[in-house]
Symmetry: C2
Subunit: 294 residues, 2 copies
Amino acid sequence: MSKEIAVEKEPDDVKAERMAKFQMQEQRLRKTMDKVKHKIAIISGKGGVGKSTVTANLAVAFAREGYEGKVGVLDADIHGPCIPKILGVQGERLPVGPSGIFPVTGPIDIKIISMAFLLQSEEVPVIWRGPLKMTAIRQFLTDIQWGNLEYLFIDLPPGTGDEPLSVMQLLPELDGVVIVTIPSDVSQLVVKKAITFARHLNVPIIGVIENMSGFICPNCGTKTDIFSSGGVDKISDELRVPVLGKIPLDPKICKNSDLGVPFIVNSPNSDSTKAFMEIVARIEDVLKEKEGND
Amino acid sequence: MSKEIAVEKEPDDVKAERMAKFQMQEQRLRKTMDKVKHKIAIISGKGGVGKSTVTANLAVAFAREGYEGKVGVLDADIHGPCIPKILGVQGERLPVGPSGIFPVTGPIDIKIISMAFLLQSEEVPVIWRGPLKMTAIRQFLTDIQWGNLEYLFIDLPPGTGDEPLSVMQLLPELDGVVIVTIPSDVSQLVVKKAITFARHLNVPIIGVIENMSGFICPNCGTKTDIFSSGGVDKISDELRVPVLGKIPLDPKICKNSDLGVPFIVNSPNSDSTKAFMEIVARIEDVLKEKEGND
């Protein structure tokens, strides 16, 4: 594997200014984020692999398993925020009280922050370049009254640009990243970049989830690998990353996301939910092991 | 529909510097781009909707229909370039000659530029923030010997951030954008933003393509709407944009993309290819009509 990475070199004066501002805000950021025990980012190489669906369902799974009121979701996709729609809180506004701005409260008392809560209507695009996106994400992590949380799940947009870079630079204590992909070769190509990205930034990789892994016809039961198959196992062998599990392609998942009810709640007995709950158990194991080592 | 748009305000000094540089480069950019007759950008709200597959197949369709050697593709997805893989030229390098840097030549003499041709290996992520991405895209449009082209298709990454904004600012003469989406509500939510984005920047919308529109079981023929259905018609009614067509979900499309052979070449008799060729005809009509009006 090549160790060469294409990283942008920041001009010295820009860096100096950024660092000064950063140090001032760092203290406030730490005050807020030190109250959050575990921070997990969900990333992908390509978009449209179901990253937001995985994030929303992870939050629900952990909230149901003894952490009600102690789970938060930061939707860090500035241009295409989907978390509010999937968790059924689309159209809500951020509550403001004497002590500051609070997250929106979703199902099972999940605390949610998303750009979608700040826009006048769902048609409004956020036409922002990188530096402003960094500022927004920093404010979401700093100036929101998240309170004491056990888990914060951060849904990052695809790619290795401004938003993922910002979150990883702002939160060096990140427990790790969960990488979501689909089985196609084209997707694997991009997920390799995400793995190298996380390693380059010294962020632990909790594991890879293969989503949309085979479709079972509801009429005849025939399995079709619509987006190919076997991709994630190749990646796992080649780049030595653990596979957390494979989630079958299931029309119910999309339907439930459109309805704003997480599929693990609405379709508890589906194969997809079973696969997902095994993934949740594996993530819990990784975090427990990490805690034991700390 | 709300007319409010969240647009980043650029500081005055940053703008002045950018404009000075821009004017110097503008002349060179024009020299290159004036030799390209039609420029069409392919955008999406959400990722993973098949935008790159649509772009690659559009290029092949136009190249086969009398424009061999006169079609180019700019893969403007800096973080997740997929075009070289889909067109079977993964691993190629940009040819350099006495008169400059040339695009890679793909099938049917299609000229291709992608970040992938500049990276040491496919695992290398491009960890760049926005300003450097703008610079790269400007160079792709300015300093590459594209030659005389009839059509340049530009594959943009999802969202309404640096890359789409750069292309639309650099190429005000763009014929228009083709928007790709999938039927789900969640995807529709994001595609609305893309439509508002294009309108805000005064870029004509050629139309919307609904991809992954229903899956036919290869065993029993049952149709399943894996990613819901009817989304694009709702959008079309609501925001008055033409629907160019719907491409059924077909495992062959993914398989062909993984093999590096466009599906319209490898699966010429499939329903997907038939749907796609109707879309091509509609785009040709729009461009001809535009030409007549000019």
